[in-house]
Symmetry: C2
Subunit: 110 residues, 2 copies
Amino acid sequence: MANLTHKFSALSDATRLSVVERLMAEGELPAGAIVAQADMSAPAMSRHLKVLREAGLIHQRVEGTKRLYSVRPEAMRAIADWTMDHKQFWDASLDRLEAHLALSPEGDDT
Amino acid sequence: MANLTHKFSALSDATRLSVVERLMAEGELPAGAIVAQADMSAPAMSRHLKVLREAGLIHQRVEGTKRLYSVRPEAMRAIADWTMDHKQFWDASLDRLEAHLALSPEGDDT
DNA sequence: ACGTTAATTAGCGAATCAGTTAATTTTAGA
DNA sequence: TCTAAAATTAACTGATTCGCTAATTAACGT
C-alpha cells in the first residue's frame, strides 16, 4: 500500500491535505470538481491527485470521461494505527507534562 | 507549534521518522547517540534534527557541550487528534468495505 | 467522422532538499 | 591558556518538487 513516509509525504502539502479532507467530508468527487475549488491549473491538480494515488491515499474510479476520486479508508487507518502504536508514549508523557506544569508554570519552547 | 503539513513533511523522510520512533522508544538521547546509529555524517543528521525541531516534533535540551533530544508529546497528540477527527469516516468506511468484500471478494487497486 | 469535454502527460524553469567536506562555535579539562 | 570533544553552520552539488503552458488521449453526442 506504499509505506508511512510515503503517505506523510503526500499529506505534507497544503493543497493535497485539503483535497483529502474535502473528499472525506463530501465523499467521491470528479477531478473537475476538485480543480474547480482550487486556485490552480488542472494539470497541477492532476499531479497532486497522482501523488495521493501513488501514496495509496485515494482511489480513482473511471466513469466515461470522468475520473472519480475518493479517500481509501485503509490508508487513513494506517496512519491512525501508527499514532495508536505510540499512544502510550504521548499519552503518558502529556499526563506527566500536565502534572509538571501544574506545579511549575514555565512555558518551555524549542 | 507549526502546522500539520509541516509535521507530515518532517515525518516524510525515513531517517527522521526512525529518529522520532527511536526517541519515543528510548527517551531523551544526545545528538551523538543518534548519529552513531545512522549511516550518515553528523552534519546531515544535525539538519534532520533541525527539521524535526522546527516542525515542533522534538525538543532540544542543552547540557554542557551536548544537545539532548526528546519527542514532544503535544506534537504527536496533534497528529493523533487529526486522525481521530476523521475516525468516523475511515472507521465507517472500513466496515462497509469489509461487508462488501465478504460478499464479493475481488481485490481492487489504484 | 468531427468537434467538444474531461483529464492526463510532456517539457520547462525556479525553488527546495538531502547529502558531502570544510570551517566555526561552545564547553570542558589538563 | 591551549587542546579536544560535541555539535552546528557554511558552501557546494545532484535530485526532486511544484507551478505553468502546450500537446495528447479517451469518450460522448451529433
